[in-house]
Amino acid sequence: MTTTPLAVTAPQQGFSPVRILIGIVVLAALIAAPFAVYPVFLMKVMCFALFACAFNLMLGYTGLLSFGHAMFFGGASYICAHTIKVMGFTPELGILAGVAFAAVLGLLVGLLAIKRQGIYFAMVTLALSQMFFFFCLQAKFTGGEDGLQAVPRRAFFGVYDITSDFNLYYAVLVIFLIGFAIIYRAVYSPFGQVLKAIRENEPRAISLGYRAQQYKLLAFVLSAALTGLAGSTKAIVFQLASLTDVAWQMSGEVVLMTLVGGMGTIIGPVVGAAVIVAMQNYLASLGEWVLVIQGVIFVLAVSLFRRGIVGEVIAFVKARKEKAGA
């Protein structure tokens, strides 16, 4: 990475008073949220939002559709659950172990997959993730069909008690904000700009002297590690790790969340995750109709508002501004 970011300048994104105000309001809302909404639901939303944001780093900003992110999500949740339950780790160490595992796995998978693009990249990641699924199905420590159950909720750092959902919420909130800050930083750094350049025109980025492969690999590892963070946190919230998390459907679900929310926008995946998880939770009493509704929403998203919820809002605001300016 000896290149100097000559051609790429970060977009203006100063901390204007309006932005700071919005940030404070959102933070206050997040802190107050568990008083109004059921905390387990909120934690689930945050886990999936982090997962979708990490995934968006690949799909939205690097332009690579990975169809195997479930292996990082589920793999980390197995490692986290196993280290805490069997080896007696505290939650933060369990999460670190999960993240480290996901990062190493991401590096190995990335080295293989990054050589290809488009459908081939998607297929390579899908194939590797299926291999990992069958490994988890067979391996002794994962508990096969039954999964790893009854993961204890030990105190964070040995001091912060998380046995009540209410306390755990704030721990998860901090984890989510850290993860989100890392993604935000990555996207709005020169590194993020290079990724976007590669997405738009890879040969050109290479001709400018950027080592596209290395950038893509780094983005992949980062995305895998953050996905691992989400998976590990989920294992603690639900006190279990199961095959659901490594199955290919999970890889598909995160694509759905990202597309519905708005791919390539920083906040889109969070909105998408909230919408999808809310549907799973609050429409559960409709039985099988949940899946039908999910399908309809996906079709609507793809055919009517292709930029996703947040993407459309941004486009709308922009159009109005331009109108006002003209």
Binding site: A150, D165, T244, E288, L291
Partner: protein
Amino acid sequence: MRFTAMLMAAASVFAVSAAHAQTPVKVKIGVLNDQSGLYADLGGQGSVWAAKKAVSDFNAASKGLQVEVVFADHQNKADVGTSIARQWYDVDGVDLIVDTPNSGVALAVSQVTKEKNKVFINSGAATSDLTGKACSPNTVHWTYDTWALANGTGKAMTKNGGDTWFFLTADYAFGHALERDTSEVVKANGGKVVGNVRVPLNNADFSSFLLQAQSSKAKVIGLANAGGDTINSIKQAAEYGIVEGGQKLAGLLIFLTDVHSLGLKTAQGLNLTSAWYWDMTDANRAFAKEFSAANGGKFPTDVMAGVYSGVTHYLKAVEATKSAKDGAAVVAEMKKIPTDDKLFGKGEVRADGRQIHPMYLFEVKKPSESKGPYDYYTLKATIPANEAFRPLDQGDCPLVKKT
């Protein structure tokens, strides 16, 4: 849906207060199962109906209980299942969760139920760990488990002359456990296992495995698999004429609805173990008739009957303890009073949470023998209640005091 339930609940309040002038004990029952995936047929809305039927047959309102039934789809995901369970217990005031097929989800829900001190009556899941290593003072396992299925099919078939076995095993923990448990039973009853083959999960082509099974000349081919794998292996076995060739197929985990979707032509001659079959007693037939009228011609499975039976017994216990709030106390009461209802007859709930009743070995009829819709099984053997389930001291359940 919910509105009418509320109206009915409100109506029952008035009825009760008029009769007894005492505040009714509120009970909320949540049916948590698969409503959209591969287990939707064997439980699904049928279990919801069975739970509601149990409530109305129990005449809850006249006994000072005000019962409401809700339901949800866990989509076979343990995290969806636990979030619904937590939300039901924490926010919606649910006291009892019933059914819940899929072993992974069931174990997770059992865990949450213990933490929140509510009651979990499982009818749909197979894992015998629910009353073994993972047993809980708040969980009762009602209808069947892997041990009972392996034991029922293995023992009865070996005794009936099927003394050499070949296993077609799904290659993961569940398949291995079924094969191991069944082989032990076969050997203990003087039979012999002549071979086995491990088949990858979700396999589409069983031909080479079935040919191995055929050439092994074993009298019985045991299918240690589940769901789509079982269906596919039975279909392809029919194409190879395995049953016509004199070998017997033993399904270790198969339900009435599976036989229905396979059709008698394909499934004929298959042996299987079940806890309940509609065409056995007058009470069962009456239940099935009513069920069928309300559910578009479908017939109830043993899982649905188990939900009915379990809910009935639970309501008896709540009536005795006068409150549904302390789950462990209700389950303790359930263990104290003997079980007795029109579908499962007399029985008991053991210290480890296992409900005890007889199991039955059935053979699937030939198309020519079947007289009407869902007339599929012939009874081959009855496994008496005291032999049907794993002995109390062999399950490693911490609730059972070692002597």
